[in-house]
Symmetry: C4
């Protein structure tokens, strides 16, 4: 394991490995996507896997990265190209301590259709609030980019689109969610995907009656108190069926 | 196990644990949702898991709760916040002996689109009858609630929406089904979800030709006689692939 | 095993057990549905499981039934209520030697929407031909039946709707496919479901360009020569993941 | 193993077996479909399984075939009827070294609806470029063919429809993708299917904002550098759950 993580609480390390496995188990990430936590003792750093498929991550694959994108340790392994998603959001949002980036399947259509805004269809997705903003990379990278958030500048533009929200969609790419703790960020990544699938269905049936802003706020608060119920299930299920 | 369950038939305890596992195996519940049975010897109580993910429930997690919502035993574990769904339905419907509450995926769109009423598309779902009523929590809790049925008052409002039906949808939340026995309630929870998926598809193809009321009544009666065929399969399948 | 099956080729018995397991493995049947083969030495009888979930069927559960619906052996176990589906089709179609009845999910919508006819979208489904007929049980059983094909009269009406086709849809119920051999009937049951899913998607995209009648006939013929490739895969996959 | 493969790098043989297993694991092929690699030492030959289900392929099932379609070795096993798909594309496109042909489910609707063109919805599918061409076999084989690419003439017509693209759809049949290496071809087959599913959803939500040609080119280039991340995951996952 990265020596820069020597003093990190083992429970956080374990949760971060579990988060990688859970997100794969639930189909939020496949070979791509990543999850990070802010370093608990140094808010200018975050912890994330080296560049690899989340389903295969172990504690030895975790590394510390500075918010600006530089790996902390000498001889660090290859980091994710898009680590700037994490660093710039941690920079812009001091209260955020966890970030999940994914290409989950049902979210993609909502990123490319202007008429459709991701909104909460049930109390499980109250964290989506009034509707998810969409990051258009063309505004910063032009019309012929490789779509990747591969620089601090692009990461900052993404963080600006995120604003005070809990989730930001990324046009033709996926989404990024944030949390006040790691389990909350994982919960949000899972239920953003679930919500997208159900909202798509609802839009085909007629005119959806979304949560009010008040309902969204209150149900999100109530769910925060229950999130370990889901986490414990997902941890057990992903361990039992996970890759070894 | 809760001492208040000491005299309950072990076969019912086993069925209730199996019901939790089956509903998870078939995707009706995930980390959330719950299933209960009325106490066979005391109709003023029901049996349900403590607050936890259904897939992990064992006999030791079951507890007795009074219809009003108070756990029977001193030192009882934490009960589900929404136990009032169960208690108030048992209160309003003396013949009901089992209740399943879930957020199953295909039902949600039908709860938030006023133009769409859940109706039976095949003989497997005759129990839906003329169409499922929808519970609007705003009428009781106002427009900024956390959406949870967290009080006797809200439970009673839900029971009123259910009326004499076998299923009630809950706007932006999920559904609740009832049964004259536990296996029937599980069957109904499973096929309500199946029906919603198929009805959504049918509505996209054109104008569905639903069961008549007579067909719904008669096919539901016929299926009641066959429900153990499904139960035995589901029990075996959920045991083989279940979490341990 | 039923003594009336004592002289049946063990390879057919094995195939019939495998057919039950395969149809469950591929999601064509769940707790309900059934598959039969005509008795090779007595065309007035067919072989089918006793009334139980297909996934759990073993050779000991198979029984011989007369085309009229009467179990051959004394002390025979309980037969399926809808055995008349099989008997009357074998009666009306002497060349048919295998029948599958199922409620597979994607077929149901096509049974209840008059504007939508199941037609072959690819060469894998050429056996559907010019389009699948739909059996309306109301014409025989009236508007308040339990929807089940529970008599010779209803079986004969279904066989009449089937006519010379390879598949007949059943309104609000499911479908029945026939084959000139058991593996062909299983293949058709699997790909009818696949075709329904893909046709539904195509209809949402625009106007499908279906196979011509000539293409349907020729591709069905070509696929018949390849069906063991699928069978061998399905057998292995269903054995590896099947219920024990 | 075919003696004509005696001098082939064992790593390529292993990758080709893995490719068969991976494509089954991810649902791109079922009992049908095939993947090949050009012979590294003799560009007039390619390596492919004998006629069987991809999920069951081992190194012993691989065989060498001349681009014209003739098996290289005497006593060669039965080759795929549609080996001309591979041979004629290798003939027309000297830079191509791998080909995958499949009937993956979400692609089929795009092959039969003229109004719908498969286009890249996200950076994972940049290889689709400006949109996938569609091969209409009727133009060569007439209106009553069995739909199979069973001759050099039909293979050449398919290669002509493919032109300089990375993927060609086949009306009422499936698709064929090519790669500059085997892993790239597998990646493309997987993400073509993913893209079709997401594009179908997007079209139901409104008007999709597809990748620009520049974005498609650049994102495809970027992904080529990451493809082993997916391959390593898929290999592990398919081995763990694969058929033995």
């Amino acid at each position: 394991m990265d020596r820069a993580l020597a003093n990190v609480n083992p429970a956080l390390i374990e949760d971060l490995v579990d988060a990688n496995r859970i997100l794969y188990h639930l189909g939020v990430v496949d070979g791509f996507g990543h999850v990070s936590a802010r370093h608990p003792a140094d808010s200018s750093r975050f912890i994330i896997s080296r560049s690899m498929a989340p389903a295969l991550v172990t504690a030895d694959d975790l590394m510390a990265i500075e918010l600006g994108g530089r790996p902390v340790s000498d001889n660090a392994p290859t980091p994710y190209l898009e680590r700037f998603i994490h660093g710039e959001i941690y920079h812009a949002r001091p209260e955020v301590v966890a970030v999940v980036h994914s290409h989950s399947a049902s979210i993609i259509p909502f990123t490319i259709v202007r008429e459709a805004t991701l909104k909460p269809v049930s109390h499980m997705s109250g964290f989506i609030g009034e509707g998810a903003p969409v990051f258009e990379i063309r505004e910063t990278a032009g019309t012929s980019s490789d779509m990747l958030v591969r620089s601090p500048e692009l990461g900052a533009a993404l963080a600006k689109s995120l604003g005070p929200h809990n989730i930001v969609l990324m046009r033709g790419h996926g989404s990024t969610v944030v949390g006040l703790n790691l389990r909350q960020a994982v919960y949000r990544a899972v239920y953003a995907e679930v919500n997208a699938r159900q909202q798509g269905e609802a839009l085909r049936l007629g005119t959806p009656n979304y949560l009010t802003v008040g309902e969204a706020v209150e149900s999100a608060k109530a769910n925060d108190g229950q999130q370990d119920r889901a986490w414990n299930l997902w941890k057990r299920a992903s361990q039992q069926s996970g890759l070894s």
